[in-house]
């Protein structure tokens, strides 16, 4: 498989491989969600199961010029009921992807994380991986964790590594280059994340973590800019050509991606990993294109 280097190529790939996934939307009575799902259905890689207030879903669709009959609609006007139903369908393999609609993130995640009826296996780490397309980078950049784990410990970082490698594989990148991001490339025993990074590098070397080309700590320059590598003279196998950037904290990763969205003309698709099936949680401020790509990404990962 030729690696996917642009988000739009996800759709091409899904159509090319005739991949079609069932997306269960919790509380689908939301304009942006309906728009993104309609686009996915029209493209032909998704079936949409819209769970929520049927009257409103139909009304919004019609207003948007969308034929509501392209969706399977399940009428459950109560938000909690609709969310539980969507989670249950994914759990029972009646759907391949779970997506958040109008329901609040906390209510939604509560249902996902429910020990008996949720989607997270026992002891699994839930994290978030995003694929970012940038005009100034020659390929997609997978970044983690933009949304879920505030200060990942070694075990959580290792899970984040695994998830981002899984995603890179789905994009046709056989041996992804992973940069473990810090403010500098030096190891400092008093900075725990640099110690974690040193361990992760060695664990990859020793076959204790999935195969990849890994180095860290590296700053973003050394991770993504070969010229900086040359100037700084840091010998690193990632060599300014990273596919994956793993950040030490949620703040740093979140600021990185938002900066790129705002100033770097970035486009993004992301999803929750660690659950038994992909889960799409989009913030209301994301562009409709990003939302559409999120659905496509989830269908690719399912």
């Amino acid at each position: 498989m030729e690696p996917i280097t642009k988000l739009s190529q996800i759709v091409d790939h899904l159509l090319d491989k005739q991949i079609k996934k069932r997306v269960a939307v919790a509380c689908a009575q939301d304009q942006n969600t309906i728009g993104a799902l309609a686009q996915a259905v029209e493209n032909g890689f998704a079936e949409a199961i819209m769970i929520g207030d049927q009257t409103q879903i139909e009304r919004i669709a019609t207003l948007e010029g969308i034929d509501p009959t392209i969706f399977t609609i399940i009428h459950l006007p109560n938000m909690v009921d609709a969310t539980l139903k969507a989670v249950e369908m994914v759990r029972n393999n009646e759907a391949d992807v779970l997506m958040k609609g109008l329901v609040g993130t906390d209510k939604f995640l509560k249902a996902v994380l429910d020990k008996q009826k949720g989607l997270l296996p026992e002891k699994a780490v839930m994290s978030y991986v995003a694929a970012i397309e940038l005009p100034k980078y020659h390929k997609l950049l997978f970044v983690t964790d933009t949304a879920v784990i505030p200060y990942p410990d070694l075990k959580q970082k290792s899970a984040m590594l695994k998830y981002s490698i899984d995603m890179a594989h789905k994009f046709g990148i056989e041996t992804p280059k992973v940069a473990l991001i810090g403010s500098a490339e030096k190891v400092s025993p008093s900075q725990q994340y640099t110690v974690d990074y040193a361990m992760m590098c060695k664990m990859v070397e020793r076959g204790q973590l999935p195969k990849c080309i890994i180095d860290g700590p590296l700053d973003v320059f050394l991770a993504c800019d070969p010229k900086s590598v040359e100037i700084k003279g840091v010998p690193t196998p990632v060599n300014g050509d990273a596919d994956v950037l793993l950040f030490p904290s949620l703040e740093s990763c979140n600021s990185f991606y938002k900066g790129l969205m705002l100033f770097g003309e970035g486009e993004l698709a992301g999803l929750i990993q660690g659950t038994i099936k992909p889960v799409v949680v989009m913030s209301r401020s994301e562009s409709s294109t990003s939302k559409f790509y999120c659905v496509a990404l989830a269908c690719l990962m399912a």
Binding site: V195, A198, K202, R206
Partner: protein, 300 residues
């Protein structure tokens, strides 16, 4: 590159001779060791001690006292302080323990006012072992001074190992950070330390060496084990230096070598402004001689 301990003698010929200052050098063991070194033409000997005792011992052992510079001191502590002062004033290049207790000897070195120990310096012990079953020397630490080195002390010891290797003509020493396994275990502190030091080597934060760890001992010194366990590292099976996780492990390794394998060794205390020889009466005269030669190679 020196691969056998006696090659140190050849390496020292033609170089400016270093001055060794022996502290409370009244006894036959100490005087004999310094005498042998002087005869080997590798150092100049300065004996600090009770002049009468030194003369008596030399006579009894049939050693020509004129080959030494003898400086009188009334007590062991006075001798230690005088010797440390001489070294601090650059009138000596190597310090050596004589008849006084290790405790008093170390206290004199550690004395802040004497200034032999740079601020924040880590005092540690490096041993060079020659074992016929290994194709070169093994430089190991710390088998004698720091019981449970923390990460900063381990970094210091690693630097001493590298410096010692370089003094022995090994241009880019291969350093193995020893553990019980090559796997990284976040719950085992020594394993975490090993990965930190290994990465610091990659980054040049510890410079001039190839560092790999954690490695179990077999992987560090036996190529076949390294091949079987698929350790892809230049260090595996060919280590020059071994950093042990703690004094127990290092001490057992060195005593297994000396007592069960009949190996010879030389040892030096590192971290002070000059190399310090800390031989005990139990050491063979050859060990003492090798320790002096090693210190002479390491002295500035």
């Amino acid at each position: 590159m020196i691969t056998k301990l006696d090659q140190m003698f050849t390496a020292l010929q033609g170089k400016t001779k270093k001055k060794i200052v022996a502290v409370w050098a009244n006894d036959s063991h100490t005087i004999e060791a310094v005498s042998n070194a002087v005869d080997k033409n590798i150092v100049e000997g300065i004996l600090v001690g009770d002049k009468n005792e030194i003369e008596k011992t030399c006579k009894a052992e049939k050693i020509d006292i004129n080959k030494f510079t003898v400086i009188h001191a009334n007590t062991d502590v006075e001798a230690a302080n005088m010797a440390v002062k001489m070294v601090a004033e650059k009138k000596g290049d190597i310090l050596m323990k004589g008849l006084l207790s290790t405790d008093k000897y170390m206290r004199a070195i550690l004395n802040k006012e004497a200034g032999l120990l740079p601020p924040k310096a880590v005092l540690s012990h490096i041993t060079v072992i020659e074992n016929a079953n290994y194709h070169k020397l093994m430089i190991v630490g710390d088998v004698a001074v720091i019981p449970n080195p923390d990460i900063n002390q381990k970094i210091a010891i690693t630097n001493y190992l590298i410096f010692t290797a370089k003094s022995l003509g090994i241009e880019r020493p291969k350093v193995a950070i020893i553990g019980a396994s090559e796997q990284v275990s976040p719950n085992i502190e020594s394993s975490v330390h090993a990965t930190i030091i290994s990465k610091m080597g990659d980054r040049g934060q510890i410079a001039g060496a190839i560092i790999e760890g954690p490695l179990a001992l077999d992987l560090a010194i036996d190529k076949e084990s390294a091949t079987i366990k698929k350790i892809d590292s230049e260090v595996a099976g060919d280590a020059d230096c071994l950093l042990f996780p703690n004094i127990e492990a290092g001490n057992v390794f060195y005593k297994t070598n000396t007592k069960l394998c009949g190996t010879e060794l030389g040892a030096v205390v590192c971290g002070a402004k000059v190399p310090c020889v800390l031989s005990s009466r139990g050491d063979t005269s050859l060990t003492k001689l090798y320790s002096i030669a090693l210190a002479a190679l390491m002295a500035k």
